[in-house]
């Protein structure tokens, strides 16, 4: 007790210090769920309830016959937290399969973004040129605005947004990440 009390004197607390932080990494999880009412709230509620963060979330029904939805979640955490997240997701009753794409090999990741640029005159050509460099499509054009559509990895979308900012970027809409593993592997197998 005596050795402890000297070190504790500093903090003036007999309670334990909070645990040290370990480096965090981002993982992309693919989660197959029954498309029943409240299933998304269940997943999102689990994340917020246990203090985990969601960086990106995409959800849509992917199997209309069996009413299964695929949820793609990008989340950040220490390796232990990521393991907890997967185990906790797996035990939710409507969750059928959980697949950690980041861990399970190579995968394709895509996100779609719509960027609205407001600019006129000479600046329009500059905006168009940079959009072309990112292979973005022009989906709307008025004398004083553009909407560009880009599909790429989340990181490339970040870059695209950064480069478009000086051209008069006023509005962005992103879909969140959709991802699928490469080769013949199927989710959860």
């Amino acid at each position: 007790m005596s050795t402890d009390s000297t070190s504790k004197k500093k903090s003036k607390s007999v309670y334990a210090p909070t645990p040290k932080q370990v480096a965090e990494e981002t993982h992309i999880l693919a989660v197959l769920v029954n498309n029943e009412p409240g299933v998304l709230a269940r997943i999102v509620g689990f994340y917020s309830g246990r203090g985990y963060n969601i960086e990106s979330l995409t959800v849509a029904e992917t199997n209309n016959d069996e009413h299964l939805s695929r949820i793609t979640i990008a989340c950040k955490g220490t390796p232990a937290v990521i393991d907890q997240i997967k185990a906790q997701l797996q035990r939710l009753v409507p969750v059928l399969k959980v697949s950690d794409l980041t861990m399970e090999g190579r995968y394709i990741e895509r996100e779609l973004a719509l960027l609205k640029i407001v600019c006129t005159g000479d600046k329009r050509a500059d905006a168009q040129r940079d959009a072309d460099a990112f292979c973005a499509r022009t989906v709307d054009s008025t004398p004083n605005s553009f909407i560009f559509e880009a599909t790429d990895t989340a990181r490339r979308i970040d870059d695209f947004i950064a480069i478009m900012k000086p051209h008069g970027l006023v509005d962005v809409s992103r879909t969140g990440i959709a991802a699928i593993s490469k080769g013949d592997r199927v989710i959860g197998e």
């Binding site: 007790m1 402890d4 009390s5 504790k8 004197k9 003036k12 607390s13 007999v14 309670y15 334990a16 210090p17 645990p19 029954n34 029943e36 009412p37 409240g38 709230a41 269940r42 509620g45 689990f46 309830g49 232990a80 393991d83 907890q84 185990a87 906790q88 797996q90 035990r91 009753v93 409507p94 059928l96």
Partner: protein
Amino acid sequence: MEATQKQDKATPKPKAKTKEMSGAEMVIEALIEQGVDTIFGYPGGAVLPIYDALFQQDKIKHVLVRQEGGALHAAEGYARSTGKVGCALVTSGPGATNAVTGLADALLDSIPLVCITGQVPTFLIGTDAFQEADTIGITRPCTKHNFLVKDQNDLASAMHESFHIARSGRPGPVVIDIPKDIQFAQGTYVSKDEAIMHSHYKPETDPDMKAIEEAVELMANAKCPVFYTGGGIINAGEEASTLLRELVRETGFPITSTLMGLGCYPAKDKQWLGMLGMHGTFEANWAMHDCDVMICIGARFDDRVTGMTSKFSPDSKKIHVDIDASSINKNINIDIPIVADAKKTMEAMLSVWRAKKYKADQKALKSWWDRIEIWRAKNCLAYKKDDTIIKPQYALERLAHYMEQDKRDCYVTTEVGQHQMWAAQFLPFNEPNRFMTSGGLGTMGYGLPAAVGVQMAHPDAFVVDVAGEASIQMNIQELATAIQYRLPVKVFILNNEWMGMVRQWQELLHGERYSETYSEALPDFVKLVEAYGGVGLRATCVDELDGVIEEMMSNDRLTVVDVMVAKTENCFPMIPSGKAHNEMILSPDASAFDKSLV
């Protein structure tokens, strides 16, 4: 099937298994089919049709509690003492919100419950209707699963699915929210064999044999092994406790258990080290700290068990058997995880142990036991006896003495606080399903309604709620329930006029500033229970204690015993928050505890 005869008269003869009936009748039919004989509840507007259907049958006994919170704890008590799914029925809005504490309690302690909540009619949902609450939203994080039934033809399947989910895998509470118009509407009932399970919920329960062989080999080569068991063994059924006893005896290893697991292994056995954790025994905690192989079965390395995780059992290889994969590596890193049912795992472990003719290293085991005996000799539960003032520990020792002599089956429930820990330390638990206490959530007010549930399930048993004067007041209205159903529940109040456990923390960790923990304006518990129609007894000094306990044990009525105990007694041993197992303080050390470190 008789339950629906009234219905049959009015409508054409139903086909063999699928039958037309109202939603409310389906609820009753499904409960009967699921083997429910007792349901705890409180009526209200949104469950009137179900109460109407209850009135017209005689298979299910309804126990009217005095507040919905009591219904949930009573159902928990019923479930924990029988191993069956507990059942509660409450109305919408405040009925459902009052049920929330019991649901959260059952979730943390893995107790199988099905709670039926009424809901406003579907066409009023979302309009802020009278007694409307978003029950599904509110209960989502404190249930294992929940359903809102919007079509009467889905109701029977949802009922059956609720029971399936509540009892499968890691058990837990399930809420089924039924709008009033669905209760009235006619629909088709399906039996449990035909129910459409939407969830595909099938948790893995078979152990991986490779992991079992690896684990058993590790056990066979252990020098300082210890079994650390928990409530998972109780949830795995009575047979699991039998298998645990075989496994412990054949290996010769010492065994400790969490609060939730008390009774799985007989406390009178010499291999039993007592409970571990914050208020566990010296020998159990030191064995955990110094062991080289830890075999954890059905426990979850809760913070009250581990103390500071970075100093938790630093030199051991850890085997963790849990039915819930998310328990593995959650708090403590595990060397050999086995995600499976405890009973099946122990069966497999025993068969491998026997097939390979393993035998523990007797020499190493002997010296390990020698060390344990030195720790045991500390006699860590010792306390200063007094000739006149009743020490709470002494009161429980006397209660234990009388319980051991009693021929009846004895069941103990507790509230939460010092008395709960003393009950765990001093009462004898030799069989599973005999100790009902709020472990994970720590719900004051749990014990009395839980005792009501236990006594309903075991009418001839001796059922006692060990309580504190603060906790008991949190659900004291359930005395009326006990009276109504003539339940001879006993409430044994260790009355020290303080919220003892909080007071203890304030004394040891908060500079002796006793903020709001004195129980001012206490009622006279003797008169109080008499007003309800029960028996009130009081013991104020040591000489009165035995007589009062004898009278409590011998009468067959609801009895509250107000035991006036020493006011500032602390519960030891204790691992202060943030300390390791080998830094626990014992009663004599307490005076040396530096109270200035705040």
